[in-house]
Symmetry: C2
Subunit: 622 residues, 2 copies
């Protein structure tokens, strides 16, 4: 590795049908790593402030990280980012599967998609060669139909695809991009951006594994992971990400009926165990991963659920299940299939349905508005019909396709009170009154409400392997769930840096690697002598860049908010009476800003901080 | 290590002749580590602002670190700190040898000395037992005589001693404390504080090696070090710290005649090679260290130089040599012996002599002032006489024993222009116009001018193992010596954190360990899973605490200064015409503050920064 780590970004201008390659050098990789680091760099440098996220001036950046495609669990993922049509702020989504690794093996660390194709196209990349192909015959097709057609077109049954469905075509603001039709880049509406560019899919085939600085050490880490997952990840393997659903419910933190409650009386019916005992037909995986947390479900009655679309993860089980008051696992699996086929984010889609149900139950929406649909909590059939309407932007679905924030404004009549979002993005299925540090993360995340932005407080309330790992960052003590003291804010801030690092490496959050092992993996892949300090600073750098992007778009402290619901007490369950203190919340935000060297007025990174992070160029953009 | 790393501080109240023990717990160690971390903690917590450094209210804290006494090179050292009588600010000195390891083996991580003994005493510690003993018979004795007498008194020829000489007794403001009479805790006048307490010495014998979390891994690191020093530290072994003297001179950065010039025409005569070829009779070492950089010199004519006092290091060679215009190696060795016998800091002593010489040559001091001494640059005999006068506070020596800052005020007649100090402490032998980043470090160091505060720019001007190591902190590019850009300031800031970490571990600066290996050493010693992030944050925490101490004492931005000389060009040599830009310097200071989360007005750590470092208690003290 005498010349360090070098690579390429593919640049595709759809307006001009021009394809070019950006050669990137070692220093650039070491500074930004990939994924969110690359995306925030390109969006800051190349977008004008105030552009229409669904216009041709937006850019859609697919990005891997330096470890993507390395044969170690957690390293098959990719990020995709753009200015978000849902939030108007920095947007990106991370996604598992095999597509990221395949792109890397095809010779690219990412793709910058610019402009807008005159008519539908798809992109075909094989071993370094890229071409723009007609996709007129694919427009209007489900992700599954599209994938099948493309694989047939290009004659590569092993081609990996990143595809939008009709939701993306219809510019549903929370449309997703599906990798191999069952791994979703769900959040912030990247599917709508792809649709706005008339880009139906990107299919990739690559057979060149990048050189590793120390292949033996990479293999040793992969082996360590294989050996440990049997010990510490058995639950995740057996039940998928839903493994913790019942514990959340037990503690009173399972979002239920649009976050009105924290306990769902039928949680047992939608748990990971219930799924395993009923509709599960297999475990899916991502590239090189020994955990195999992905679900494959099949249902024949009363809903036909095609196992090709995978199965619901925790977020999906809660968003279409408890949070819609629905205990019908088959219906949830169907909703998941619909979302993956139409290309919808299951979190935002489910949260939007629950919002509509609460509005309906409160009389803010009537059957007149819904075209006769009775949107009561617990009505699985209505839920499924609504998902179809949203994807197709039909009837009430056209309003709800805008996301809860815009929909509530359109609906009026006080609906905004029940539109649970941050910066316009619907809340993931983690109750911020339960995990209060995560609530700060929701508020401050550049992407709007995001459960991968920072700490999950429940991991750090007692001694255990997770706290033991956290000590390696100097986070020495367990902290209560509802603690918003500076010590908790520090935990949130450090985890935010680490998460931005993971999302720049584009590594899975679930791998049980220590901080030191992640830096070791970076080192043995690239040949760098990276430390956790260096990696944390990449994360902090990325966090500052995403913040800067949002400041340029006019966002500030007021947008680092939580819905009013979370400042009012939970009415029942183990957390009855618990709310987030408004003053504590505001204080915690300021403390977060100050800890990161951002000003207290708007959370604007100071020049000194930008200089310390080696990105003083950002100052010229904000 | 189920209960973590626990230990003890000995607390000795000399006024009440009371001895007690503070039991310290794992969390305290992990937060502060030892050394400067402990000292700054205790001084902030236990001293009142504005106390007389030479009064009984000052406390003298000896401190080891968690790795002290571990059988690995660089781990035999100790720190000793107090409010400095030289600067009125935070003071401490680090020192090599065996005493630190011996104290650890005797069961203590440190000693807090309080109050003032009625008459001279010494402290004798053996395997956990401590007693205060009469030292009336030792007062007025040289360090060597004192050590011999104590070893005989206690019947332990292997007792390790930390001793002051007459300079400490006489409250010379830059008096040192000598470990085993030839390793000096030189800087900031800790010997005077010890003298002010009527404490002549601390003798220690300990035979219990602390438990190691992973003895095999500790041994592996020790072996790695032994194997590598032959390859990378050969020059240091052969020539001691003076190995770089000729290169500094070649580059025009060897302090000469009170920093009036950067080239000494007779540098060859005082080089490490010259010493090796003439007066060197052996190499000394510190505990467990394979480098053996310490010198042992012997001279019979014209000066009797006792090899028991070791031999001059680079700082001593330059301060009494080039910076006094003296090319007589035997005389420099004699000056070194006198300083070690009287207990004087060779840097400040030599710098004070050169200050006096410049004043004499400029007519500010005359023979009337000096008692007939002709203090011309190059006059070795006058230099040696002056050292004696200073130690004994006789004649002009009484004025000069105050340090150049106070002496210049006393002398008047424009002498202050030639008093080269920061915060009252004389400059070490590194030209800040040559190493301009180090100049920023001089200015901002809590201790006043200190060459171990931060980066030595010359290490990072080109590709090489040192830059390669620095990349592990994200410092990716070589930077020119005279660069004061934000990138250089970042290098200074990061190195300042790392140096404060090393001085909290109390590890030698010269060990060729990577950052990762240092964190590994901490881990395999303590059982912690420490990362470089955690360690850097300990360093930053310590830096904030020392800063807070100084702010409480009324110091601020104006005290982060450099003497005017360094803003004027060097008159000759390779650096002819080079000076530090005043505006660039002031800007760099502000950038440093901002990078560390200190305010621009006074460099006061923000509350958010203190909270991020887990030391919000400090806010109550400033």
């Amino acid at each position: 590795m005498a010349n360090g780590y070098n690579g390429k970004m593919l640049r595709v201008d759809l307006s001009r049908r021009a394809i070019s390659v950006d050669e990137l050098k070692d220093r650039f990789y070491r500074c930004y790593l990939g994924g969110r680091g690359f995306i925030s760099y390109y969006l800051l440098k190349e977008l004008e402030a105030g552009i229409d996220p669904l216009g041709p001036d937006n850019k859609l950046v697919f990005a891997c990280g330096v470890v993507t495609g390395v044969p170690v669990g957690g390293c098959g993922r990719n990020s995709v980012g753009a200015k978000s049509p849902l939030t108007g702020a920095y947007g990106d989504a991370e996604v598992g599967g095999y597509w990221g690794a395949e792109l890397k093996h095809a010779g690219y660390d990412g793709i910058i998609v610019e402009g807008k194709a005159e008519k539908p196209v798809y992109l075909w990349i094989k071993d370094g060669q890229a071409e723009i192909r007609d996709a007129s015959h694919l427009w209007g097709k489900s992700t599954g139909e599209c994938q099948e057609a493309i694989r047939s077109d290009v004659g590569e049954p092993l081609a990996r695809t990143a595809t939008i469905g009709q939701a993306g075509e219809n510019l549903v603001r929370y449309a997703a991009i599906l990798n191999d039709i069952h791994h979703a880049a769900g959040r912030t509406g990247m599917g709508a951006v792809m649709g706005s560019k008339n880009l139906k899919a990107i299919a990739v085939r690559g057979r060149n594994h990048p050189a590793l600085a120390n292949p033996e050490a990479v293999r040793a880490l992969a082996k360590w992971l294989r050996d440990i997952v049997g010990i510490v990840m058995g639950g995740m393997h057996a039940q998928g990400t839903a493994v913790g659903l019942k514990a959340l419910n037990r503690d009173g933190g399972l979002p239920t009926r649009n976050f009105q409650e924290g306990v769902f009386e039928e949680a047992d019916k939608i748990s990971g165990r219930a799924m395993k005992e009923t509709i599960l037909v297999g475990e899916g995986s991502c590239y090189a991963c020994p955990v195999r947390c992905k679900r494959v479900t099949s249902v024949s009655e009363p809903y036909q659920v095609d196992p090709a679309y995978g199965g619901p993860e925790y977020e999906t089980l809660a968003s279409f299940g408890s949070n819609c008051g629905i205990d019908d696992l088959a219906a949830i699996a169907k909703a998941n299939e619909l979302c993956n086929a139409y290309g919808l984010d299951t979190i935002s889609a489910g949260a939007t349905v629950s919002f509509a149900m609460e509005c309906f139950e409160r009389g803010i929406l009537s059957e007149k508005d819904t075209g006769g649909l009775k949107l009561n909590f617990g009505d699985a059939s209505a839920m499924l019909q609504l998902v179809e309407l949203i994807a197709k932007r039909e009837g009430i679905g056209d309003v709800l396709a805008e996301g809860v924030a815009r929909a509530a404004k359109r609906i009026g009549r006080g609906a905004e009170e029940f539109a649970l979002h941050v910066k316009g993005q619907e809340l993931p299925m983690h109750e911020p009154r339960y995990k209060q540090g995560l609530g700060i993360g929701y508020a401050i995340s550049p992407k709007g409400a995001d459960h991968t932005m920072s700490v999950h407080d429940s991991m750090y309330t007692g001694e255990g392997p997770l706290l033991e790992n956290a000590k390696a960052l100097g986070l020495l003590e367990p902290l209560a769930l509802d603690d918003l003291s500076p010590a908790k804010v520090r935990m949130v801030a450090y985890h935010s840096c680490w998460q931005h690092l993971l999302d720049s490496l584009v590594m899975c959050n679930f791998m049980p690697f220590s901080y030191g092992q992640v830096s070791e993996l970076v080192g043995v892949t690239t040949g760098w002598n990276s430390t956790v300090w260096e990696l944390m600073k990449v994360g902090e750098r990325c966090l500052a860049m995403t913040r800067a992007f949002n400041i340029r778009e006019g966002l500030g402290k007021k947008d680092d908010s939580l819905p009013q619901r979370f400042f009012t007490p939970l009415p029942s369950g183990p957390l009855q009476g618990v709310s987030i203190g408004k003053d504590e919340f505001e204080q915690a935000k300021e403390t977060f800003y100050s800890m990161l060297g951002w000003d207290k007025a708007e959370g604007r990174p100071s020049l000194g901080k930008l200089q310390e992070l080696g990105i003083e160029w950002v100052a010229d953009y904000i």
